[in-house]
């Protein structure tokens, strides 16, 4: 599975949403599932999926689907 599919899958599994929800830039706290607990579950799932450990500042900055792609570049994970 390529990185983009992995990234999408984490969002879809963590928040129980369909792929079309990701077309618009999904943001923190704009759906009930992406609340504080959902945020931590999604972050943990990304760490497992890409075998990385986020720094605290990146967890705080990870405020949208789009921003997350940029943050992952720091960890040498490119989402095309």
């Amino acid at each position: 599975m390529d990185n983009k599919k992995k990234y999408e899958k984490v969002f879809m599994d963590s928040f129980s949403i369909s792929k079309d929800k990701l077309k618009k830039d999904l943001k923190y706290n704009t759906i009930p599932q992406w609340d504080s607990v959902g945020h931590m579950s999604m972050i943990a799932a990304l760490e497992d999926a890409f075998n990385i450990t986020f720094e605290m500042d990146d967890i705080i900055d990870f405020s949208s689907y789009k921003t997350g792609k940029e943050i992952l570049k720091k960890y040498k994970v490119n989402i095309s």
């Binding site: 923190y28 706290n29 504080s36 607990v37 945020h39 931590m40 972050i43 943990a44 605290m56 967890i59 705080i60 900055d61 990870f62 405020s63």
Partner: protein, 153 residues
């Protein structure tokens, strides 16, 4: 981490609930970040027995679960830096197996599965007369820690 016990007075430093809502009498062994176990005696003058139920007193399931969650809290609040912090419940899944009756001793055993960024997942069992009365999977948080990791609006 080194294990230790907490008497009813020492417990108050690590568990923010107070009687009559404090559902632990004594912590017999806590290994910070790993496990906590102890007990609550159930004298017949406990506040809920006259009302739950008038002719058939038993410990409400919600309070059995509360006892497990309070004990899991102790496993986390005894970690360095967490003393005195308030915890909140996030989600619990519980199975009740036996009635818990007046004059019984309610043994509480909890284990931490994970503790990360202010969220603890763990399991617990309530035991009476050597038998499991209830068991739960629990998720609790220390909001003060969790909030440090959240995106700012």
């Amino acid at each position: 981490m080194k294990k230790f016990s907490l008497d009813s007075k020492q417990l108050l430093d690590y568990q923010p609930n107070r009687p009559p809502f404090l559902m632990i009498d004594y912590v017999t062994e806590v290994v910070p970040g790993v496990s906590a176990k102890g007990f609550k005696n159930l004298p017949k003058d406990e506040w809920y027995f006259p009302i739950h139920f008038p002719n058939h007193p038993n410990v409400p399931g919600a309070l059995q679960l509360e006892a497990l969650a309070q004990m899991l809290t102790v496993a986390i609040t005894t970690l360095p830096g967490n003393k005195g912090k308030v915890t909140h419940a996030l989600s619990h899944e519980v199975r009740f197996r036996k009635e818990v009756l007046p004059e019984q001793k309610f043994i509480i055993k909890t284990k931490v599965i994970s503790w990360k960024r202010g969220i603890c997942e763990g399991t617990g069992q309530g035991i009476v007369n050597g038998e499991v009365a209830c068991e739960a999977k629990m998720k609790i948080t220390i909001p003060e820690i969790l909030e440090q990791f959240l995106p700012k609006k």
